[in-house]
Symmetry: C2
Subunit: 205 residues, 2 copies
Amino acid sequence: MKSDKRNQQTEQLLIASFIDLIKEKNFNDIGVTDITRLAGVNRGTFYIHFSDKFDLLHKIERELLEKLQEALNSVIPTAIEQLKNDSFEILPYKLVIKTLNQIYNDRDIVAALLSSNGDPLFVNKLKDLFRKEIRVEFSQIKDSVFYDEVIPQDYIEEMILNNLMSIVIHWLTKEHPEQPEEVAKIILRYREVSPDELIRIKKEE
Amino acid sequence: MKSDKRNQQTEQLLIASFIDLIKEKNFNDIGVTDITRLAGVNRGTFYIHFSDKFDLLHKIERELLEKLQEALNSVIPTAIEQLKNDSFEILPYKLVIKTLNQIYNDRDIVAALLSSNGDPLFVNKLKDLFRKEIRVEFSQIKDSVFYDEVIPQDYIEEMILNNLMSIVIHWLTKEHPEQPEEVAKIILRYREVSPDELIRIKKEE
DNA sequence: ATAAATTATGAACACCGTGTTGACTTCTAA
DNA sequence: TTAGAAGTCAACACGGTGTTCATAATTTAT
């Protein structure tokens, strides 16, 4: 009597309807009424599963982030090994690919949530997840070769993270996103290029 | 009879109240009722000035962006000259300073609007303004020295813009923002540094 | 197969904020 | 001083929310 078939069924129905909606309109403009109407479910039923639309949103986000975290956990140990052996490699290819693939699997929802119509707080949640990982990489880097008196420490982590986020967001929100492998290459190549050099990259005419 | 004293007065009062509110809570959580109550003005009066709270928001944003644009227009001609003479200087210091100063003047509101509690679309508006300027710089650069087969063209502009935006946002949303001159230096220095080098900058212990 | 438990339905409800309207008062510019 | 613009106040319909309750439908366990 614990798990009723319908329980999971209608919950998934509601989630699916919400995802359909968030792809088209602002989260703000989506009401419980819209969701249940699209799902063909009574409005009262919604409140059996979620306390309100924010609860629904957060459950979706949590699930996405958990899946991503699990995918990461499965490659991190070997990535750390790699870092210890080769001190020049900073972001192991495998790690990046795994991450991007996982994101690519859910690209519709993730893109919607990351867009300006989505949830402004989701960017931060994803950023926090990346931050945790990046700090692991950071801690492996023994040789700090460069010195700088201009750029404060707090800007550094922030900028590296934002660079990553920008690429991911731009990637997902474009009409036809590249395959994860391509983006992985872009990220790894990008790490070697300064903005000044970036600006001077030859334009195709 | 065209310009009544009260007209401007209460309008400013409403704007000021809204700004006070947006610093503390989500735009979504701010109602017309909140604004008028704080302003000590009848709720009906609000609708004499604005059609709704979005109208108010957009008027504030438009004003901010116009002021910024004007500030930029006043230095751009000389900046262009500078670019033509010195082909290595890409972002003239004067241009950056002028921009940052203007933003710094309105840092409270701008920070609030750019934060995750603000208006997600405002980031884009500011970005569009920067984009226009950056394209002017781009067009001045004759020598494309570097070639790259990995990073696609559409990523380049996007990444340069986002780098700038990230710095501005991080700057404004920190507790005690640096003086504009300092941030200008950071931006100009940052342009020479690749992410890989950035990560290796010595940490102070 | 049936009973018990769980879940969904439908309708009603109070609540709150919105945007509008109309009669009235207050202010201010000429 | 007076016309006209701006603000006040109260009332209104509207729409969405979250809750409740009686009822129906479905599933699970026995």
